[in-house]
Symmetry: C2
DNA sequence: TTTCAGTTTAACAATACAGTTAAATCAAGT
DNA sequence: ACTTGATTTAACTGTATTGTTAAACTGAAA
């Protein structure tokens, strides 16, 4: 019932190829031919598996977004103390982005072009994204009241955490040039960065 | 010698339109027709002024990149004390990005697709970008030796500064949803953010 | 009035691309 | 051997888009 490759091997190859091409080029610049070549097959078979470019893109995009935000919700809603939670967020984000370096620029670029997609996905995910920040804010304010951290706006703090962790990947080519690193060097800098960011935040929050 | 509009009025209108369309959609998704409509003219006149889409894009892109990095070099090479310099960088970046909110995602997305462009532009700009970091590093290490700031890796610090300032604009649609703000609200949050980031960094660097 | 650059209109050519299809091939299971 | 589904080949349709062109129009300047 199956040919050369076992069962859904081809489908998987296509999805991987589509992911790679869409992620690197974005929807508009991606060509079905590119995806086919990357998957080692031809255009006809692409349409045999996935009807249209749009359908393929929607699939990939949803997957990518969920990877991008995966785990984050879980960590944010966990019952860890604030500092540990921040540390977990930073480590989680950097780990994910080391495995998917082109993920954030892709997702953010496409979201910028179709902001409505964000809402659709958010609803799909169940909880409204602003709830993430709500719980975080309560915890930050509690620590401030308890005197364990300095007076800070929780939203601003949240943006700082995300910015420090994610931005280097978004600006990857610039960073590589300024730091004079190749891909390997970049990765090792990002590994160090996990601890660096956490330390930075801990000191910044000291009363 | 001139028609309805004075001299280079049209050229200016075209450049502004091209900037808007390219910046919002990226090169691949941008249509010459879009640009023409945005400029209030027709496609033919577009080619009358600028031969091709590529030529127009190159112009716009160079302009945008130079805006993105403009002033930064000047500040970095100034003789301000370190903390003031950091403060100046943050204020400068956020001020620029408030005026050009879609700038970073555009530049970074196109750079990710054509990293070689970065080098071309860098050379064009005269100085190698890594020199920016070199001077900064020396200054940071001097302050560390003098005991005025905590032991920190200069490159990591630099990425943190840039990330905190720039990332919210890159992730603008996400930020707006999580913070439940409209465009006006977003801008006011970013205005506050100037001081927030500087304070954050100052505290993080305290020995 | 004539001239001339800027501008519009309305085609056109050339290409690129998405999507479809029919027929042939191939590899495995029956 | 026959069947069946996966895959390729190769063509095709239709449309979007870039780029070009010729002709007409316009309004200011000479």
């Amino acid at each position: 019932m199956v040919n050369k490759k076992d069962d859904n091997q081809t489908e998987k190859a296509i999805l991987e190829a589509a992911d790679k091409v869409f992620t690197q080029k974005g929807f508009a610049a991606a060509r079905m031919e590119d995806i086919a070549q990357e998957a080692g097959i031809n255009r006809a078979l692409l349409h045999y598996y996935f009807r249209s470019k749009d359908k393929m893109f929607d699939l990939i995009f949803q997957q990518r977004v969920s990877i991008f935000f995966s785990g984050l919700g879980q960590i944010m809603h966990s019952e860890k103390p604030l500092i540990e939670k921040i540390q977990a967020i930073v480590e989680h984000e950097i780990t994910i982005l080391l495995a998917h370096p082109y993920l954030p620029i892709f997702v953010l670029q496409e979201l910028n072009q179709n902001p409505h997609r964000m809402l659709a996905i958010a609803e799909n995910a169940g909880a409204h994204p602003s709830l993430l920040l709500k719980k975080f804010s309560v915890e930050v304010r509690a620590e401030i009241k308890a005197g364990t951290i300095r007076e800070t706006d929780p939203a601003q703090l949240f943006m700082s955490i995300m910015g420090m962790a994610i931005y280097p990947f978004v600006a990857r080519p610039v960073v590589k040039i300024i730091l004079e690193k190749d891909d390997v060097g970049f990765e090792s800098v990002m590994l160090q960065r996990k601890k660096e960011i956490t330390d930075f935040i801990i000191h910044a929050l000291k009363p």
